[in-house]
Symmetry: C2
Subunit: 160 residues, 2 copies
């Protein structure tokens, strides 16, 4: 491959192994997400992200979370979460309630119906995750994967 161009003099390119790992990672990522998403969608009508939202809410005290916290926790933009919650609300799985303490804020609250859908979807989803990921790995590999992913998680190294 041709060496660098304009400006990019000192680039440290990926060596063969890094390149191969990187591409595997991208492919595995996109395939796993797509399959799980499709499966979940087919089985329960919620997307993977929506499922994540329901899970997060179900684990929160009072089955409720402030929008901002929820957005951070499922890693989506505020705007996207807002739309997403609107849809979940329309579906009857979540409702909004204004927040007393901070009157700018809103709670997103899991409804009974939302909890029900979550419960019904959970088993099948976990089974799928297992098939697609954990059953293919040894215990040791799971450990290694965890160690690596925890290193890769933090958004920007700026964490003081």
């Amino acid at each position: 491959m041709a060496p660098m161009t304009a400006g990019e003099e000192g680039v440290r390119w990926l060596d063969a192994e890094e390149q191969s790992v990187w591409r595997s990672l991208l492919r595995a990522q996109s395939r796993i997400e797509e399959e799980l998403d499709r499966d979940l969608q087919a089985r329960s009508g919620v997307s993977l992200v929506e499922f994540g939202i329901l899970v997060a809410l179900s684990e929160a005290p009072g089955m409720r979370m402030r929008m901002r916290v929820l957005a951070d926790s499922v890693i989506v933009s505020k705007s996207r979460l807002s739309h997403q919650i609107t849809r979940l609300e329309r579906a009857g799985y979540v409702r909004r309630e204004p927040c007393e303490e901070d009157r700018r804020g809103f709670w997103a609250i899991l409804t009974d119906q939302g909890l029900k859908v979550l419960r019904e979807a959970a088993g099948g989803h976990v089974t799928r995750v297992r098939e697609r990921v954990f059953d293919r790995l040894t215990r040791e590999q799971v450990r290694q994967l965890g160690a690596v992913m925890r290193l890769l998680e933090p958004g920007d190294g700026a964490g003081g």
Copy 2:
């Protein structure tokens, strides 16, 4: 095989470690992709997927690929690729050409301008990938990650 329907009696739930690994994976995934995408977009106006398309084309003989092959190689649906190529074509980075041998088919061909943009974007992108991923891992961890991802890559285990 465990009976797998609405009842979900025999589900093997994730244990604490698996759960933690799984969530790390999802978070790391979405953060990395989002950051790289945003960076690439800001620096060169192409998304991560578009960049992937340009890379694939640049490596193909004659810098051209049939739509179907390209779609498989970058892991997107035919439909999405078609739209994507339309946009890249509009931007002047790719052009289509009908395929002689199979007259249903089309080639997607990297243009000079597309190659130029790719070259200009590549260095910065690699640097970012390095910062975001490889520089955080030991050589051994990179190896482990590769081994794991290669196992997770294949779409469906159903080989027959």
